[in-house]
Symmetry: C3
Subunit: 209 residues, 3 copies
Protein backbone atom coordinates (compact mmCIF):
# COMPACT_ATOMS: atom_id res chain seq x y z
CA UNK A 1 0.00 0.00 0.00
CA UNK A 2 2.74 2.45 1.03
CA UNK A 3 4.67 1.09 -1.92
CA UNK A 4 1.94 2.08 -4.39
CA UNK A 5 1.46 5.47 -2.74
CA UNK A 6 5.20 6.18 -3.03
CA UNK A 7 5.23 5.21 -6.71
CA UNK A 8 2.27 7.44 -7.55
CA UNK A 9 3.75 10.41 -5.69
CA UNK A 10 7.11 9.87 -7.36
CA UNK A 11 5.73 9.66 -10.90
CA UNK A 12 3.39 12.60 -10.34
CA UNK A 13 6.25 14.74 -9.06
CA UNK A 14 8.41 13.63 -11.98
CA UNK A 15 5.74 14.73 -14.47
CA UNK A 16 5.26 18.24 -13.14
CA UNK A 17 8.96 18.86 -12.65
CA UNK A 18 9.67 17.55 -16.16
CA UNK A 19 7.23 20.17 -17.48
CA UNK A 20 9.13 22.89 -15.61
CA UNK A 21 12.38 21.62 -17.17
CA UNK A 22 10.86 21.59 -20.65
CA UNK A 23 9.53 25.15 -20.28
CA UNK A 24 12.97 26.36 -19.21
CA UNK A 25 14.54 24.61 -22.21
CA UNK A 26 12.04 26.09 -24.68
CA UNK A 27 12.62 29.57 -23.23
CA UNK A 28 16.35 29.14 -23.88
CA UNK A 29 15.61 27.95 -27.44
CA UNK A 30 17.07 24.49 -27.06
CA UNK A 31 16.08 22.03 -29.78
CA UNK A 32 13.68 19.17 -29.11
CA UNK A 33 16.41 16.90 -27.83
CA UNK A 34 17.66 19.53 -25.41
CA UNK A 35 14.07 19.94 -24.26
CA UNK A 36 13.82 16.23 -23.50
CA UNK A 37 17.18 16.18 -21.69
CA UNK A 38 16.11 19.07 -19.47
CA UNK A 39 12.74 17.40 -18.86
CA UNK A 40 14.49 14.26 -17.68
CA UNK A 41 17.05 16.18 -15.61
CA UNK A 42 14.47 18.37 -13.84
CA UNK A 43 12.13 15.46 -13.22
CA UNK A 44 14.59 12.82 -12.08
CA UNK A 45 17.95 14.14 -10.90
CA UNK A 46 16.71 14.89 -7.39
CA UNK A 47 15.57 11.30 -6.98
CA UNK A 48 18.64 9.85 -8.70
CA UNK A 49 20.95 11.78 -6.37
CA UNK A 50 18.98 10.57 -3.35
CA UNK A 51 19.18 6.96 -4.56
CA UNK A 52 22.94 7.14 -5.19
CA UNK A 53 23.51 8.65 -1.75
CA UNK A 54 21.48 6.01 0.10
CA UNK A 55 23.06 3.22 -1.94
CA UNK A 56 19.90 2.24 -3.87
CA UNK A 57 21.60 1.65 -7.24
CA UNK A 58 20.64 1.44 -10.01
CA UNK A 59 18.34 4.35 -9.10
CA UNK A 60 14.61 3.86 -9.69
CA UNK A 61 14.64 6.49 -12.47
CA UNK A 62 17.23 4.40 -14.35
CA UNK A 63 15.96 0.90 -13.62
CA UNK A 64 12.26 1.59 -14.26
CA UNK A 65 11.13 2.72 -17.72
CA UNK A 66 8.09 4.54 -16.33
CA UNK A 67 10.16 7.51 -15.15
CA UNK A 68 11.71 8.20 -18.53
CA UNK A 69 8.35 7.62 -20.24
CA UNK A 70 6.65 10.19 -18.00
CA UNK A 71 9.52 12.66 -18.52
CA UNK A 72 9.50 12.31 -22.30
CA UNK A 73 5.71 12.67 -22.35
CA UNK A 74 5.90 15.88 -20.34
CA UNK A 75 8.67 17.19 -22.64
CA UNK A 76 6.72 16.43 -25.83
CA UNK A 77 3.51 18.00 -24.51
CA UNK A 78 5.39 21.15 -23.59
CA UNK A 79 7.28 21.25 -26.88
CA UNK A 80 4.27 20.87 -29.17
CA UNK A 81 1.77 22.91 -27.17
CA UNK A 82 4.16 25.50 -25.81
CA UNK A 83 1.89 28.51 -26.45
CA UNK A 84 -0.79 26.71 -24.49
CA UNK A 85 1.57 25.60 -21.74
CA UNK A 86 2.94 29.11 -21.50
CA UNK A 87 -0.51 30.66 -21.11
CA UNK A 88 -0.95 28.34 -18.17
CA UNK A 89 2.39 29.29 -16.62
CA UNK A 90 0.69 30.35 -13.41
CA UNK A 91 -0.95 26.97 -13.26
CA UNK A 92 2.48 25.44 -13.85
CA UNK A 93 3.65 27.19 -10.71
CA UNK A 94 0.90 25.36 -8.81
CA UNK A 95 1.83 22.08 -10.44
CA UNK A 96 5.40 22.70 -9.43
CA UNK A 97 4.30 23.22 -5.83
CA UNK A 98 2.41 19.92 -6.01
CA UNK A 99 5.52 18.21 -7.40
CA UNK A 100 7.63 19.64 -4.62
CA UNK A 101 5.21 18.30 -2.02
CA UNK A 102 5.17 14.85 -3.68
CA UNK A 103 8.94 14.61 -3.89
CA UNK A 104 9.66 15.92 -0.40
CA UNK A 105 7.33 13.37 1.15
CA UNK A 106 8.25 10.41 -1.08
CA UNK A 107 11.98 11.15 -0.77
CA UNK A 108 11.79 11.21 3.01
CA UNK A 109 9.83 7.93 3.14
CA UNK A 110 12.38 6.24 0.87
CA UNK A 111 15.29 7.49 2.96
CA UNK A 112 13.64 6.14 6.12
CA UNK A 113 13.00 2.78 4.44
CA UNK A 114 16.72 2.60 3.61
CA UNK A 115 17.67 3.09 7.23
CA UNK A 116 18.65 6.75 7.38
CA UNK A 117 18.28 8.48 10.73
CA UNK A 118 15.33 10.80 11.48
CA UNK A 119 17.77 13.71 11.38
CA UNK A 120 19.08 13.06 7.86
CA UNK A 121 15.95 11.64 6.17
CA UNK A 122 14.18 15.01 5.86
CA UNK A 123 17.28 16.52 4.31
CA UNK A 124 17.27 13.81 1.65
CA UNK A 125 13.56 14.47 1.13
CA UNK A 126 14.36 18.13 0.59
CA UNK A 127 17.20 17.22 -1.78
CA UNK A 128 14.81 15.04 -3.78
CA UNK A 129 12.54 18.05 -4.09
CA UNK A 130 15.11 20.68 -5.05
CA UNK A 131 17.85 18.66 -6.84
CA UNK A 132 16.18 18.47 -10.23
CA UNK A 133 15.34 22.17 -10.31
CA UNK A 134 18.90 23.06 -9.32
CA UNK A 135 20.45 21.08 -12.19
CA UNK A 136 17.82 22.46 -14.60
CA UNK A 137 18.94 26.01 -13.86
CA UNK A 138 22.67 25.18 -13.77
CA UNK A 139 22.39 23.64 -17.26
CA UNK A 140 21.12 26.95 -18.65
CA UNK A 141 23.87 28.83 -16.78
CA UNK A 142 21.63 30.54 -14.22
CA UNK A 143 21.68 30.71 -10.44
CA UNK A 144 19.11 28.10 -9.32
CA UNK A 145 15.79 29.78 -8.54
CA UNK A 146 15.43 27.17 -5.81
CA UNK A 147 18.14 28.98 -3.85
CA UNK A 148 16.28 32.27 -4.01
CA UNK A 149 12.57 31.58 -4.39
CA UNK A 150 10.07 32.30 -1.70
CA UNK A 151 10.22 29.61 0.97
CA UNK A 152 10.85 26.94 -1.67
CA UNK A 153 13.34 24.63 0.02
CA UNK A 154 11.96 25.45 3.46
CA UNK A 155 8.47 24.29 2.43
CA UNK A 156 9.98 20.99 1.27
CA UNK A 157 11.86 20.60 4.53
CA UNK A 158 8.75 21.31 6.62
CA UNK A 159 6.76 18.64 4.81
CA UNK A 160 9.63 16.18 5.17
CA UNK A 161 9.89 16.79 8.90
CA UNK A 162 6.19 16.01 9.34
CA UNK A 163 6.77 12.62 7.74
CA UNK A 164 9.64 11.84 10.09
CA UNK A 165 7.84 13.00 13.22
CA UNK A 166 4.85 10.87 12.20
CA UNK A 167 7.12 7.87 11.75
CA UNK A 168 8.74 8.36 15.16
CA UNK A 169 5.27 8.67 16.78
CA UNK A 170 4.02 5.57 14.88
CA UNK A 171 1.29 7.49 13.06
CA UNK A 172 -0.06 5.84 9.87
CA UNK A 173 2.19 6.64 6.87
CA UNK A 174 -0.87 7.54 4.78
CA UNK A 175 -1.86 10.22 7.28
CA UNK A 176 1.62 11.73 7.61
CA UNK A 177 2.03 11.69 3.84
CA UNK A 178 -1.16 13.72 3.40
CA UNK A 179 -0.40 16.13 6.23
CA UNK A 180 3.27 16.54 5.25
CA UNK A 181 2.53 17.02 1.58
CA UNK A 182 -0.33 19.38 2.41
CA UNK A 183 1.87 21.49 4.67
CA UNK A 184 4.57 21.74 1.99
CA UNK A 185 2.03 22.79 -0.64
CA UNK A 186 0.30 25.24 1.70
CA UNK A 187 3.55 26.96 2.68
CA UNK A 188 4.60 27.30 -0.94
CA UNK A 189 1.10 28.51 -1.90
CA UNK A 190 1.12 31.18 0.79
CA UNK A 191 4.67 32.22 -0.12
CA UNK A 192 3.71 32.76 -3.77
CA UNK A 193 0.35 34.35 -2.98
CA UNK A 194 1.49 36.76 -0.28
CA UNK A 195 5.05 37.22 -1.49
CA UNK A 196 6.57 35.78 1.68
CA UNK A 197 10.34 35.94 1.72
CA UNK A 198 13.09 34.65 3.90
CA UNK A 199 15.49 37.37 5.06
CA UNK A 200 18.77 38.06 3.28
CA UNK A 201 21.94 39.20 5.04
CA UNK A 202 23.36 42.70 5.34
CA UNK A 203 25.65 43.52 2.44
CA UNK A 204 24.01 46.69 1.21
CA UNK A 205 26.74 47.65 -1.26
CA UNK A 206 25.26 47.73 -4.78
CA UNK A 207 28.49 46.94 -6.59
CA UNK A 208 28.90 43.22 -6.70
CA UNK A 209 32.39 42.14 -7.64
CA UNK B 1 37.72 -10.06 -27.12
CA UNK B 2 34.71 -7.84 -26.44
CA UNK B 3 36.54 -6.80 -23.29
CA UNK B 4 39.57 -5.56 -25.25
CA UNK B 5 37.35 -3.84 -27.80
CA UNK B 6 35.48 -2.00 -25.04
CA UNK B 7 38.72 -0.87 -23.41
CA UNK B 8 40.13 0.49 -26.67
CA UNK B 9 36.89 2.34 -27.50
CA UNK B 10 36.72 3.78 -23.98
CA UNK B 11 40.31 5.04 -23.93
CA UNK B 12 40.05 6.40 -27.47
CA UNK B 13 36.88 8.29 -26.59
CA UNK B 14 38.51 9.57 -23.40
CA UNK B 15 41.46 10.94 -25.37
CA UNK B 16 39.46 12.91 -27.93
CA UNK B 17 37.01 14.27 -25.36
CA UNK B 18 39.89 15.24 -23.08
CA UNK B 19 41.29 17.30 -25.96
CA UNK B 20 37.94 19.08 -26.34
CA UNK B 21 38.00 19.83 -22.60
CA UNK B 22 41.54 21.18 -22.77
CA UNK B 23 40.71 23.43 -25.74
CA UNK B 24 37.74 24.87 -23.86
CA UNK B 25 39.95 25.49 -20.81
CA UNK B 26 42.66 27.22 -22.83
CA UNK B 27 40.05 29.43 -24.54
CA UNK B 28 38.85 30.53 -21.09
CA UNK B 29 42.46 31.20 -20.01
CA UNK B 30 42.57 28.66 -17.22
CA UNK B 31 46.06 27.81 -15.97
CA UNK B 32 47.69 24.47 -16.72
CA UNK B 33 46.05 22.78 -13.76
CA UNK B 34 42.63 24.02 -14.77
CA UNK B 35 43.37 22.68 -18.25
CA UNK B 36 44.13 19.24 -16.84
CA UNK B 37 41.03 19.25 -14.62
CA UNK B 38 38.81 20.10 -17.61
CA UNK B 39 40.58 17.44 -19.70
CA UNK B 40 39.80 14.84 -17.07
CA UNK B 41 36.22 16.06 -16.56
CA UNK B 42 35.36 16.12 -20.27
CA UNK B 43 37.02 12.77 -20.92
CA UNK B 44 35.75 10.81 -17.95
CA UNK B 45 32.70 12.25 -16.22
CA UNK B 46 30.26 10.66 -18.66
CA UNK B 47 31.70 7.23 -17.92
CA UNK B 48 32.02 7.89 -14.18
CA UNK B 49 28.37 8.92 -13.96
CA UNK B 50 27.35 5.78 -15.86
CA UNK B 51 29.41 3.58 -13.54
CA UNK B 52 27.99 5.18 -10.39
CA UNK B 53 24.43 4.77 -11.70
CA UNK B 54 24.85 1.09 -12.59
CA UNK B 55 26.64 0.39 -9.30
CA UNK B 56 30.07 -0.33 -10.81
CA UNK B 57 32.12 1.46 -8.13
CA UNK B 58 34.87 2.45 -7.97
CA UNK B 59 34.34 3.60 -11.57
CA UNK B 60 36.83 2.42 -14.17
CA UNK B 61 38.15 5.96 -14.63
CA UNK B 62 39.06 6.06 -10.92
CA UNK B 63 40.27 2.49 -10.44
CA UNK B 64 42.40 2.27 -13.59
CA UNK B 65 45.37 4.64 -14.02
CA UNK B 66 45.17 4.46 -17.83
CA UNK B 67 42.18 6.84 -17.99
CA UNK B 68 43.89 9.60 -16.05
CA UNK B 69 47.13 9.04 -17.98
CA UNK B 70 45.33 9.41 -21.30
CA UNK B 71 43.50 12.53 -20.06
CA UNK B 72 46.65 14.21 -18.76
CA UNK B 73 48.46 13.39 -22.00
CA UNK B 74 45.68 14.98 -24.04
CA UNK B 75 45.70 18.03 -21.75
CA UNK B 76 49.47 18.50 -22.00
CA UNK B 77 49.50 18.11 -25.79
CA UNK B 78 46.76 20.72 -26.11
CA UNK B 79 48.42 23.08 -23.64
CA UNK B 80 51.87 23.05 -25.20
CA UNK B 81 50.84 22.92 -28.85
CA UNK B 82 47.70 25.00 -28.61
CA UNK B 83 48.33 27.07 -31.77
CA UNK B 84 48.71 23.81 -33.65
CA UNK B 85 45.71 22.18 -32.00
CA UNK B 86 43.67 25.28 -32.73
CA UNK B 87 44.56 25.26 -36.42
CA UNK B 88 43.21 21.74 -36.52
CA UNK B 89 39.98 22.69 -34.75
CA UNK B 90 37.92 21.35 -37.63
CA UNK B 91 39.75 18.08 -37.31
CA UNK B 92 39.02 18.19 -33.57
CA UNK B 93 35.34 18.30 -34.44
CA UNK B 94 35.80 15.04 -36.35
CA UNK B 95 37.75 13.53 -33.46
CA UNK B 96 34.93 14.57 -31.16
CA UNK B 97 32.43 12.79 -33.38
CA UNK B 98 34.62 9.67 -33.23
CA UNK B 99 34.77 9.95 -29.44
CA UNK B 100 31.01 10.30 -29.25
CA UNK B 101 30.59 7.14 -31.32
CA UNK B 102 33.09 5.23 -29.16
CA UNK B 103 31.44 6.28 -25.90
CA UNK B 104 27.85 5.73 -27.01
CA UNK B 105 28.63 2.19 -28.09
CA UNK B 106 30.94 1.26 -25.21
CA UNK B 107 28.59 2.79 -22.61
CA UNK B 108 25.65 0.82 -23.95
CA UNK B 109 27.62 -2.46 -23.94
CA UNK B 110 28.72 -1.88 -20.35
CA UNK B 111 25.17 -1.07 -19.21
CA UNK B 112 23.93 -4.31 -20.84
CA UNK B 113 26.71 -6.29 -19.18
CA UNK B 114 25.57 -4.90 -15.81
CA UNK B 115 22.04 -6.11 -16.37
CA UNK B 116 20.20 -2.98 -17.44
CA UNK B 117 17.14 -3.44 -19.61
CA UNK B 118 17.25 -2.87 -23.40
CA UNK B 119 15.13 0.25 -22.83
CA UNK B 120 17.48 1.94 -20.39
CA UNK B 121 20.89 0.75 -21.70
CA UNK B 122 20.89 3.08 -24.75
CA UNK B 123 20.07 6.04 -22.50
CA UNK B 124 23.11 5.24 -20.36
CA UNK B 125 25.17 4.93 -23.55
CA UNK B 126 23.97 8.39 -24.58
CA UNK B 127 24.74 9.74 -21.10
CA UNK B 128 28.27 8.31 -21.37
CA UNK B 129 28.64 10.21 -24.62
CA UNK B 130 27.25 13.58 -23.56
CA UNK B 131 27.98 13.72 -19.79
CA UNK B 132 31.60 14.84 -20.03
CA UNK B 133 30.84 17.58 -22.52
CA UNK B 134 27.98 18.85 -20.37
CA UNK B 135 30.16 19.22 -17.25
CA UNK B 136 32.93 20.78 -19.37
CA UNK B 137 30.59 23.58 -20.45
CA UNK B 138 28.93 23.99 -17.04
CA UNK B 139 32.37 24.48 -15.46
CA UNK B 140 33.02 27.47 -17.71
CA UNK B 141 29.51 28.83 -16.99
CA UNK B 142 28.03 28.21 -20.43
CA UNK B 143 24.92 26.38 -21.60
CA UNK B 144 26.19 22.95 -22.73
CA UNK B 145 26.66 22.89 -26.48
CA UNK B 146 25.52 19.27 -26.31
CA UNK B 147 22.01 20.52 -25.58
CA UNK B 148 21.96 22.67 -28.69
CA UNK B 149 24.33 21.22 -31.25
CA UNK B 150 23.22 19.64 -34.47
CA UNK B 151 21.91 16.13 -33.78
CA UNK B 152 24.58 15.57 -31.15
CA UNK B 153 22.77 13.57 -28.48
CA UNK B 154 20.44 12.03 -31.05
CA UNK B 155 23.39 10.59 -33.00
CA UNK B 156 24.67 9.01 -29.79
CA UNK B 157 21.27 7.56 -29.02
CA UNK B 158 20.89 6.11 -32.53
CA UNK B 159 24.24 4.32 -32.28
CA UNK B 160 23.35 3.02 -28.84
CA UNK B 161 20.03 1.64 -30.04
CA UNK B 162 21.79 -0.31 -32.81
CA UNK B 163 23.92 -2.02 -30.16
CA UNK B 164 20.87 -3.02 -28.13
CA UNK B 165 18.87 -4.23 -31.13
CA UNK B 166 21.88 -6.31 -32.19
CA UNK B 167 22.12 -7.81 -28.73
CA UNK B 168 18.42 -8.70 -28.68
CA UNK B 169 18.75 -10.32 -32.14
CA UNK B 170 21.92 -12.20 -31.05
CA UNK B 171 24.11 -10.52 -33.68
CA UNK B 172 27.89 -10.58 -32.99
CA UNK B 173 28.89 -7.72 -30.65
CA UNK B 174 31.78 -6.82 -32.98
CA UNK B 175 29.37 -6.26 -35.86
CA UNK B 176 26.87 -4.19 -33.86
CA UNK B 177 29.69 -2.14 -32.38
CA UNK B 178 30.95 -1.25 -35.84
CA UNK B 179 27.50 -0.56 -37.29
CA UNK B 180 26.31 1.38 -34.21
CA UNK B 181 29.47 3.45 -33.95
CA UNK B 182 29.43 4.04 -37.69
CA UNK B 183 25.83 5.22 -37.65
CA UNK B 184 26.53 7.62 -34.77
CA UNK B 185 29.57 9.07 -36.58
CA UNK B 186 27.73 9.29 -39.91
CA UNK B 187 24.76 11.13 -38.40
CA UNK B 188 27.00 13.60 -36.64
CA UNK B 189 29.11 14.04 -39.80
CA UNK B 190 26.05 14.76 -41.94
CA UNK B 191 24.66 17.13 -39.31
CA UNK B 192 27.88 19.18 -39.25
CA UNK B 193 28.39 19.03 -43.02
CA UNK B 194 24.84 19.89 -44.10
CA UNK B 195 23.89 21.95 -41.04
CA UNK B 196 21.09 19.61 -40.04
CA UNK B 197 19.13 20.83 -37.07
CA UNK B 198 16.41 19.49 -34.87
CA UNK B 199 13.38 21.76 -34.60
CA UNK B 200 12.91 24.23 -31.76
CA UNK B 201 9.55 25.19 -30.26
CA UNK B 202 7.48 28.28 -30.96
CA UNK B 203 8.36 31.09 -28.60
CA UNK B 204 9.08 33.82 -31.13
CA UNK B 205 9.28 36.65 -28.59
CA UNK B 206 12.77 38.17 -28.68
CA UNK B 207 12.73 39.43 -25.12
CA UNK B 208 13.90 36.63 -22.89
CA UNK B 209 13.16 37.25 -19.24
CA UNK C 1 43.76 7.11 16.75
CA UNK C 2 43.98 7.64 12.98
CA UNK C 3 40.19 7.41 13.00
CA UNK C 4 39.85 10.32 15.43
CA UNK C 5 42.45 12.35 13.55
CA UNK C 6 40.56 11.86 10.28
CA UNK C 7 37.25 12.89 11.87
CA UNK C 8 38.72 16.08 13.32
CA UNK C 9 40.39 17.03 10.04
CA UNK C 10 37.19 16.33 8.12
CA UNK C 11 34.94 18.38 10.40
CA UNK C 12 37.45 21.23 10.58
CA UNK C 13 37.68 21.35 6.79
CA UNK C 14 33.90 21.22 6.51
CA UNK C 15 33.55 24.22 8.84
CA UNK C 16 35.93 26.53 6.98
CA UNK C 17 34.66 25.54 3.55
CA UNK C 18 31.06 26.01 4.72
CA UNK C 19 31.98 29.56 5.71
CA UNK C 20 33.36 30.18 2.21
CA UNK C 21 30.10 28.86 0.75
CA UNK C 22 28.01 31.08 3.01
CA UNK C 23 30.06 34.18 2.12
CA UNK C 24 29.56 33.47 -1.59
CA UNK C 25 25.81 33.04 -1.03
CA UNK C 26 25.50 36.29 0.93
CA UNK C 27 27.44 38.17 -1.76
CA UNK C 28 24.93 36.91 -4.34
CA UNK C 29 22.03 37.99 -2.06
CA UNK C 30 20.57 34.53 -1.54
CA UNK C 31 18.13 34.26 1.35
CA UNK C 32 19.03 32.45 4.56
CA UNK C 33 18.03 29.06 3.17
CA UNK C 34 20.15 29.54 0.08
CA UNK C 35 23.01 30.50 2.39
CA UNK C 36 22.64 27.23 4.30
CA UNK C 37 22.43 25.17 1.10
CA UNK C 38 25.62 26.73 -0.22
CA UNK C 39 27.30 26.22 3.17
CA UNK C 40 26.45 22.54 3.04
CA UNK C 41 27.43 22.18 -0.62
CA UNK C 42 30.79 23.90 -0.23
CA UNK C 43 31.60 22.05 2.97
CA UNK C 44 30.51 18.56 2.03
CA UNK C 45 30.18 17.90 -1.69
CA UNK C 46 33.88 17.16 -2.15
CA UNK C 47 33.72 14.46 0.52
CA UNK C 48 30.35 13.14 -0.66
CA UNK C 49 31.66 12.77 -4.22
CA UNK C 50 34.73 10.93 -2.93
CA UNK C 51 32.57 8.58 -0.85
CA UNK C 52 30.23 7.81 -3.75
CA UNK C 53 33.19 7.11 -6.04
CA UNK C 54 34.92 4.74 -3.60
CA UNK C 55 31.63 3.00 -2.79
CA UNK C 56 31.36 4.22 0.81
CA UNK C 57 27.60 4.88 0.78
CA UNK C 58 25.75 6.41 2.49
CA UNK C 59 28.53 9.04 2.57
CA UNK C 60 29.77 10.19 5.95
CA UNK C 61 28.28 13.65 5.41
CA UNK C 62 24.83 12.08 4.98
CA UNK C 63 25.02 9.34 7.60
CA UNK C 64 26.54 11.43 10.39
CA UNK C 65 24.61 14.46 11.74
CA UNK C 66 27.82 16.21 12.81
CA UNK C 67 28.65 17.32 9.24
CA UNK C 68 25.33 19.04 8.66
CA UNK C 69 25.43 20.54 12.16
CA UNK C 70 28.87 22.04 11.52
CA UNK C 71 27.76 23.33 8.09
CA UNK C 72 24.59 24.96 9.42
CA UNK C 73 26.54 26.52 12.30
CA UNK C 74 29.04 28.01 9.86
CA UNK C 75 26.18 29.28 7.66
CA UNK C 76 24.34 30.92 10.56
CA UNK C 77 27.48 32.57 11.92
CA UNK C 78 28.22 34.02 8.49
CA UNK C 79 24.63 35.13 7.93
CA UNK C 80 24.17 36.96 11.23
CA UNK C 81 27.65 38.41 11.56
CA UNK C 82 28.34 39.02 7.91
CA UNK C 83 29.86 42.50 8.34
CA UNK C 84 32.25 40.99 10.85
CA UNK C 85 33.00 37.94 8.72
CA UNK C 86 33.54 40.17 5.73
CA UNK C 87 36.05 42.34 7.58
CA UNK C 88 37.99 39.16 8.25
CA UNK C 89 37.85 38.05 4.63
CA UNK C 90 41.65 37.85 4.48
CA UNK C 91 41.56 35.62 7.51
CA UNK C 92 38.92 33.54 5.71
CA UNK C 93 41.43 32.99 2.94
CA UNK C 94 43.78 31.49 5.51
CA UNK C 95 41.02 29.37 6.97
CA UNK C 96 40.23 28.18 3.47
CA UNK C 97 43.87 27.15 3.01
CA UNK C 98 43.69 25.23 6.28
CA UNK C 99 40.48 23.53 5.12
CA UNK C 100 42.10 22.59 1.82
CA UNK C 101 45.02 21.01 3.69
CA UNK C 102 42.65 19.10 6.02
CA UNK C 103 40.53 17.75 3.17
CA UNK C 104 43.38 16.82 0.86
CA UNK C 105 45.05 14.78 3.60
CA UNK C 106 41.89 13.23 5.05
CA UNK C 107 40.49 12.42 1.62
CA UNK C 108 43.68 10.64 0.60
CA UNK C 109 43.78 8.60 3.82
CA UNK C 110 40.16 7.54 3.36
CA UNK C 111 40.77 6.52 -0.26
CA UNK C 112 43.77 4.41 0.81
CA UNK C 113 41.71 2.78 3.57
CA UNK C 114 39.11 1.82 0.93
CA UNK C 115 41.74 0.09 -1.17
CA UNK C 116 42.48 2.61 -3.90
CA UNK C 117 45.89 2.45 -5.50
CA UNK C 118 48.67 4.90 -4.56
CA UNK C 119 48.25 6.47 -8.02
CA UNK C 120 44.54 7.27 -7.67
CA UNK C 121 44.29 8.01 -3.92
CA UNK C 122 45.95 11.46 -4.15
CA UNK C 123 43.60 12.41 -6.97
CA UNK C 124 40.63 11.57 -4.76
CA UNK C 125 42.25 13.59 -1.96
CA UNK C 126 42.52 16.53 -4.35
CA UNK C 127 38.90 16.04 -5.45
CA UNK C 128 37.82 16.10 -1.79
CA UNK C 129 39.61 19.40 -1.44
CA UNK C 130 38.33 21.13 -4.57
CA UNK C 131 34.90 19.50 -5.19
CA UNK C 132 32.90 21.61 -2.73
CA UNK C 133 34.37 24.88 -3.97
CA UNK C 134 33.66 23.92 -7.57
CA UNK C 135 29.96 23.26 -6.92
CA UNK C 136 29.74 26.44 -4.81
CA UNK C 137 30.85 28.53 -7.78
CA UNK C 138 28.81 26.59 -10.37
CA UNK C 139 25.66 27.19 -8.29
CA UNK C 140 26.15 30.95 -8.57
CA UNK C 141 26.86 30.62 -12.31
CA UNK C 142 30.57 31.46 -12.17
CA UNK C 143 33.67 29.67 -13.43
CA UNK C 144 35.07 27.89 -10.36
CA UNK C 145 37.86 29.95 -8.83
CA UNK C 146 39.48 26.61 -8.00
CA UNK C 147 40.26 26.19 -11.69
CA UNK C 148 42.05 29.52 -11.87
CA UNK C 149 43.38 30.37 -8.43
CA UNK C 150 47.04 30.45 -7.58
CA UNK C 151 48.31 26.89 -7.12
CA UNK C 152 45.07 25.87 -5.42
CA UNK C 153 44.51 22.36 -6.72
CA UNK C 154 48.23 21.75 -7.08
CA UNK C 155 48.80 22.48 -3.38
CA UNK C 156 46.10 19.93 -2.52
CA UNK C 157 47.70 17.36 -4.80
CA UNK C 158 51.16 17.91 -3.32
CA UNK C 159 49.88 17.35 0.22
CA UNK C 160 48.00 14.25 -0.90
CA UNK C 161 51.10 12.78 -2.55
CA UNK C 162 53.07 13.17 0.69
CA UNK C 163 50.46 11.05 2.48
CA UNK C 164 50.70 8.31 -0.13
CA UNK C 165 54.49 8.28 -0.23
CA UNK C 166 54.52 8.07 3.58
CA UNK C 167 52.13 5.14 3.45
CA UNK C 168 54.24 3.30 0.88
CA UNK C 169 57.36 3.88 3.00
CA UNK C 170 55.51 2.78 6.18
CA UNK C 171 55.95 6.12 7.92
CA UNK C 172 53.55 6.84 10.81
CA UNK C 173 50.22 8.24 9.50
CA UNK C 174 50.34 11.01 12.10
CA UNK C 175 53.66 12.23 10.74
CA UNK C 176 52.65 12.12 7.08
CA UNK C 177 49.37 13.85 7.89
CA UNK C 178 51.20 16.72 9.53
CA UNK C 179 53.86 16.99 6.82
CA UNK C 180 51.36 16.61 3.96
CA UNK C 181 48.88 19.08 5.40
CA UNK C 182 51.70 21.48 6.22
CA UNK C 183 53.07 21.31 2.67
CA UNK C 184 49.63 21.96 1.19
CA UNK C 185 49.08 24.97 3.47
CA UNK C 186 52.59 26.32 2.88
CA UNK C 187 52.25 26.12 -0.92
CA UNK C 188 48.89 27.86 -0.85
CA UNK C 189 50.22 30.48 1.61
CA UNK C 190 53.21 31.25 -0.60
CA UNK C 191 51.00 31.37 -3.70
CA UNK C 192 48.68 33.95 -2.11
CA UNK C 193 51.50 35.94 -0.48
CA UNK C 194 53.83 36.13 -3.46
CA UNK C 195 51.19 35.92 -6.18
CA UNK C 196 52.56 32.69 -7.60
CA UNK C 197 50.76 31.55 -10.72
CA UNK C 198 50.78 28.53 -12.91
CA UNK C 199 51.33 29.33 -16.59
CA UNK C 200 48.47 29.69 -19.05
CA UNK C 201 48.65 28.69 -22.72
CA UNK C 202 49.19 30.89 -25.75
CA UNK C 203 45.93 32.19 -27.16
CA UNK C 204 46.65 35.90 -27.16
CA UNK C 205 43.57 36.94 -29.10
CA UNK C 206 41.48 39.27 -26.94
CA UNK C 207 38.19 38.47 -28.58
CA UNK C 208 36.77 35.41 -26.94
CA UNK C 209 33.92 33.86 -28.87
Amino acid sequence: MLHILLAVLDLGGTFVFAISGAITAVKHRLDIFGVLVLSFAAGNVGGITRDVLIGAVPPAAIADWKYIAVSVLAGLITFFWYPVTDRFSNEVLWFDAVGLAFFAVAGTEKALVHGLTPVMAPLLGMLTGIGGGMLRDVLVAEIPIVLRADLYALAALAGAIVVVVGRVLHVSPIATTIVGGGLCFALRFMAIHYGWHLPTAWPRDDTKS
